[in-house]
């Protein structure tokens, strides 16, 4: 089960992150998870929000370059070695992770991680085979 992440190009300029967040806030769009990848001159802001279609239209209307990216939200046991146990499965099965980051909120007593895979479909097969719970889009919206 894939969920939708919005990726936004940002120059390393004062106030740009604020511009995005306040735009979303003013339009009653809630950010569920967020990370920034940065280089010396620009960054890519990656967010998971409750209303992604509305959010991307809003961003593009305001001249941001923004794309949808397919990611997977995975429940990870919130205890020492929890993440490692999942990563081992990926390593054993040649699943490459491009990047990952954590959710702000918890969905159950487990931690929730966003993962971007090199091959999302293949990663999902492996996850299903090992009975690892992935979170659906509608669950994110209800958080």
């Amino acid at each position: 089960m894939k969920i939708t992440q919005i990726s936004i190009f940002l120059e390393n300029r004062k106030g740009r992150l604020y511009d995005v967040c306040s735009l979303l806030g003013q339009n009653d769009i809630n950010i569920r998870a967020l990370t920034i990848a940065e280089t010396e001159s620009f960054g890519v802001l990656r967010i998971v929000v409750d209303k992604s279609d509305q959010a991307i239209r809003l961003l593009r209307d305001n001249h941001f370059v923004a794309n949808f990216t397919e990611v997977v939200a995975i429940e990870v046991p919130d205890q020492p070695g929890g993440l490692a146990s999942i990563l081992k499965i990926f390593a054993d099965n040649d699943v490459n992770i491009e990047y990952m980051y954590g959710f702000v909120e918890k969905f159950s007593d487990k931690a929730l991680l966003v993962m971007r895979f090199e091959d999302t479909d293949f990663a999902q097969q492996i996850l299903a085979k090992h009975n690892i719970h992935v979170v659906a889009e509608k669950d994110i919206q209800g958080l």
Partner: protein, 433 residues
């Protein structure tokens, strides 16, 4: 259509005779009416009576942009001010602005050469033209206006700016011809898409673009977005405004109206004419102007010129697209850099737009550094940093291949590089030279 068959298709010998006749009259006129030129001609040892043919032109002194500024306002005028019926002024970034003045006959000449421009691009009486060059002190808007009046077109004089309104008028009146700067027509296309309008809709046949350098790659882009023939117009206010040269539908060089604007291509270093086909500075003598006739005016535009007859039937010589400007050209670590070279690279890379800015800087005791800012487009944006870096590096490599100097490429957010209604600000030179 060919507006002035008699001169545009004249046999070379007849053309030469016409030009020689004009020059023989011009020199005494200038000598006796313009003290600045009298002094220049005296210094060059030229007696007005000694000028017998157009071949004597090479004995005459050059005129430069600095002369225009130094003798501001009236120094280079040959006609008294009570005969000047219209003036145009271009902004001077340094020192005095450039002032030009037209007599009644000069305005008639302007209308005539602009009607030739329109005809050369493919216009015919009765067509509708939207003129989106700026009206006012800039010569673009009014120059096209006079030509369109002369030819008998239906004119929509929108001037530049107010893009949403321009697009509305296009939809309502469906003009066949648009005249504006190439960067503005691309800007309008972006706005149109934002408004949900397909620019290719309508009755477009011809675009006449000029007043700033643009590449063939940009031409293809305009032609595919707007579904029209995109032609290049050339001119400068010192000579007349737009109306000096224009491409026909073969798009194989710009026909220069040499019966009235006599072209030479000069090596800026030696002052000698370069061989036919070689690049040099376009230098023009206005053979029939009265207000400010200019002798061998250095346009600072780098072109080459060819004299063979065109497939369209015109015998008027053809200048190449402007290859650069002798003054906009920047010299970085000894290498000549023209903005159009970078534009070529960007339009050639899929997904990029020719919206860029070049920043040249030099830290104390260090080499010049060139930074090229390129806007990120939706089409090539990826959420992965490595993909963005790959695109950035590709742009950098290709620019370095063309310029033979190292550059830094920086990706910036869309619409952050200033769009121009007139000429683009492509280069910011921060060096304290």
């Amino acid at each position: 259509m060919i507006w002035r068959q008699d001169v545009e298709c004249a046999a070379p010998a007849d053309l030469k005779e016409l030009q020689s006749g004009y020059l023989k009259k011009l020199i005494p006129y200038i000598y006796h009416n313009c003290p600045v030129y009298q002094k220049k001609l005296d210094a060059a040892g030229v007696k007005p009576d000694n000028i017998k043919s157009i071949d004597d032109l090479k004995r005459l002194p050059f005129t430069t942009k600095e002369d225009m500024r130094d003798y501001y306002p009236y120094g280079l005028f040959s006609a008294p001010q009570d005969q000047i019926k219209e003036i145009h002024v271009s902004s001077g970034t340094t020192g005095n602005p450039t002032l030009v003045g037209y007599t009644k006959d000069d305005l008639k000449l302007w209308g005539d050469v602009m009607a030739r421009v329109l005809g050369c691009a493919g216009a015919a009486p009765g067509d509708t033209i939207q003129i989106a060059y700026g009206y006012g002190l800039f010569t673009g808007g009014l120059g096209f206006h006079y030509g369109a009046l002369e030819m008998g077109l239906r004119i929509i004089p929108t001037s530049s700016g107010q893009t949403a309104r321009q697009l509305k008028l296009m939809q309502d009146f469906k003009p066949k011809i648009i005249a504006c700067t190439p960067s503005y027509v691309l800007y309008m296309a972006e706005e149109a898409k934002d408004m949900g309008i397909d620019p290719a809709q309508g009755n477009w046949k011809i675009g006449i673009f000029g007043a700033e350098p643009w590449s063939d790659a940009m031409r293809h882009e305009i032609e595919s977005i707007w579904n029209m023939l995109a032609t290049d117009v050339y001119g400068l206010s010192e000579i007349i405004g737009p109306g000096v040269a224009q491409e026909c539908h073969h798009k194989d060089g710009l026909h220069i109206f040499s019966d009235v604007f006599y072209p030479e291509v000069i090596d800026p270093k030696t002052g000698a004419q370069v061989p036919e086909g070689a690049d040099g500075e376009l230098t023009i003598t206005t053979l029939t102007k009265q207000g400010i006739p200019l002798l061998r005016y250095g346009t600072r535009d780098v072109v080459n010129i060819r004299y063979e007859k065109c497939r369209c039937g015109r015998t008027s010589p053809r200048i190449s697209k402007i290859k650069g400007r002798t003054d906009d050209m920047i010299v970085v670590r000894g290498i000549n850099v023209f903005p159009s070279q970078i534009e070529h690279v960007l339009v050639g890379i899929e997904g990029t737009q020719p919206h860029y800015q070049i920043i040249v800087d030099r830290q104390a005791h260090k080499l010049d550094e060139v930074e090229v800012m390129v806007e990120v487009e939706q089409r090539f944006f990826s959420d992965e940093i490595k993909r963005l870096n790959e695109i950035r590096d590709k742009i950098r490599r290709e620019i370095e291949n063309v310029l033979s100097i190292g550059v830094k490429v920086t990706l910036v957010e869309p619409k952050t590089i200033e769009r121009s209604m007139g000429k683009s600000k492509r280069i910011i030179d921060k060096r304290a030279l």
